[in-house]
C-alpha cells in the first residue's frame, strides 16, 4: 500500500535518510524505532509531504509524493497525528475536527459534524466539542488530534512521537486509544520511544539507524535474543531503553 523506495533526504550537508526502503501493507501496525536523529520523524514527514525528497520515491497506492496533484490525493488518504498536537488554536474542537473533511473531502457540514461526534465519543471527549484547545490538557489535546486525523477516514495513520510531550498519566490515556485503533485493523505507522507499547500492539518493528533501515522484522523476532538482539546496535539500543 505504501512503498518507500530508496529515499534520500538531507538538510544542508547533513544526510538524514540514506537509502531507506520499506513496504507497508494494509492492516500493518508498524513501529519505527531508533535513536534520536536516526531519521524517524523525517521519514514520516516525507510520507505526508512536509519534507521534499532529495532522492528515491514514496508511493501511496498509485500516487507519488513527488507529484503535486498526486500528493494532494495522498493527503486525503493518509492522516498525521503530531507530537505537539498542532491543533488550530482559534477554532473549537468540533471545528478542528471538521475543517479538513469539509474543505478537502467536500463533505456536507452535517455529515462532518456527525462523524466528529462519533469520534469524540470514541475517545471519551464528547462534552468538549465546543471547547478551545487552550482549555484542554495535553492528553485531551492529543486525543482530539487523533479524532482530527480519523475524521478523514484515512487508509493509513501516521503517528509522530505522539506521547513524547505528555506526562505518564496522559500518555496512558492516549495509548489506550491507540491500542483500540490497532485492534480495529487500521493501518498505523508509529514513531515512538515507548518500546513496551510498541511491543504490545505492533506486528512489525522497523529499526532506523543513521538514516538506514537496520532491521525490519516481525515483532517478537525483533525483541528475541537470536533475532533482533543479534545485532549489537539493536541490543545496545534496547538495553539502554530498558534501563529507563
Amino acid at each position: 500500500m505504501i512503498s518507500i523506495n530508496n529515499v534520500q533526504k538531507s538538510f544542508g550537508n547533513t544526510v538524514i535518510l540514506d537509502g531507506v526502503s520499506l513496504t507497508i501493507n494494509k492492516g500493518d501496525v508498524v513501529s519505527i524505532l531508533g535513536a534520536s536523529g536516526s531519521g524517524k520523524s523525517t521519514l514520516i514527514r516525507c510520507i505526508n509531504g512536509l519534507e521534499r525528497l532529495n532522492g528515491g520515491d514514496i508511493k501511496v497506492g498509485e500516487n507519488s509524493v513527488k507529484n503535486k496533484v498526486e500528493l494532494n490525493e495522498i493527503r486525503k488518504k493518509v492522516s498525521t497525528v503530531f507530537q505537539h498536537f498542532n491543533l488550530y488554536p482559534h477554532l473549537t474542537v468540533l471545528d478542528n475536527i471538521t475543517l479538513a473533511p469539509i474543505e478537502v473531502l467536500g463533505w456536507e457540514k452535517s455529515k462532518a459534524i456527525a462523524k466528529a461526534i462519533e469520534l469524540l465519543n470514541l475517545v471519551g471527549l464528547q462534552d468538549k466539542s465546543d471547547s478551545y484547545p487552550s482549555q484542554l490538557s495535553g492528553g485531551q489535546k492529543q486525543r482530539i488530534g487523533i479524532c482530527r486525523a480519523l475524521a478523514m477516514e484515512p487508509e493509513c495513520l501516521l503517528l509522530d512521537e505522539v506521547t513524547s510531550a505528555l506526562d505518564p498519566e496522559m500518555t496512558s490515556e492516549v495509548l489506550d486509544v491507540l491500542a483500540d485503533l490497532a485492534r480495529s485493523g487500521t493501518t498505523l505507522i508509529f514513531v515512538t520511544h515507548e518500546i513496551a507499547f510498541a511491543r504490545k500492539i505492533s506486528n512489525r518493528i522497523v529499526f532506523l539507524d543513521e538514516g538506514k533501515v537496520r532491521a525490519d522484522m516481525e515483532k517478537e523476532q525483533f525483541f528475541s535474543n537470536d533475532g533482533g538482539k543479534q545485532d549489537p546496535r539493536i541490543k545496545r539500543f534496547l538495553d539502554k531503553m530498558d534501563s529507563k
Binding site: N48, N72, N86, Y88, L99, A100, E103, Y132, S134
Partner: protein, 221 residues
Amino acid sequence: MFDLSIIYKYLGSFIDGFEITASVSALSIIGSFLVGLMVMFACVSSNKLVSNIGYAYINCFRNIPFIVQVFFIFYGLPELGIFIDPYTTGVLALSIAVGAYCADVLRASVLQVDNEVIEAAQSFGLSRKLIYQKIVLPIALRNSIRPLGSIFINLILTTSILSTVTLNELTGAAKIIAAETFRPFEVYFFLLLFYCVLTYILSFLISRVHARLNRHFVTEN
C-alpha cells in the same frame, strides 16, 4: 490669568473641528488597513519582485516624515490637474503613510503564526488559499489588534498635521480660536488634554476588544 471660560464660548467650533478629525480618522483607518493588507500580501508573496516592492513600500514611507508626504500630495496633485480638497488629501495621505505601518504589523503577525499548525493543515491537504483564509489570517488578525490599535490611535494624533494644509480639524480650529482670543496657552493646553483623554478612552476600548476576542486563548506554554 489662566482663563478657561473661552473653552465654553468656543465649544461650537471646537466640536466642528472634532467632527472633521473623527471622520478623517475613521476613513483613514479603513483606508490604511486595506493598504496594509495589500502590502502585507505583497511582502509574503513567493514572487521575489512583488515581495521586494512590498518591503520597499514599508521602508520608504516609514522613513519619510508625514508632513513631507502631505505636502507632496497637496502641492503635487494640482500640478497633475487633479484638484482635491484638503479633506481628501488628508485621507489619501494618511491611508498611504499609515498603511506602511499597518503592513509591517500584519506582516509580522502572519509570519509569527506557528509553523507547526500550518504544517498540520497542509498534511490534511488544505490548499494554500484555504490555509490563509481559515488559519493564518484569523490568527494573525487576532494577534494584530493591540499593535494596530496603537497605530490607529497614533493616526488620530497625526491628523493634527493636516492643519498645515488648511484642513479645519481640531488643531486647525484651535489655531483660529487661539488667534481670536489671544490666549494660545489655554487653548493649546486644553487641546493637548483633549487629545490625551481621547487616546486613553480609545486605548481602553481596544484593550477590551482584545480581551474579548482572546478570551479563549489563555497564555499557555
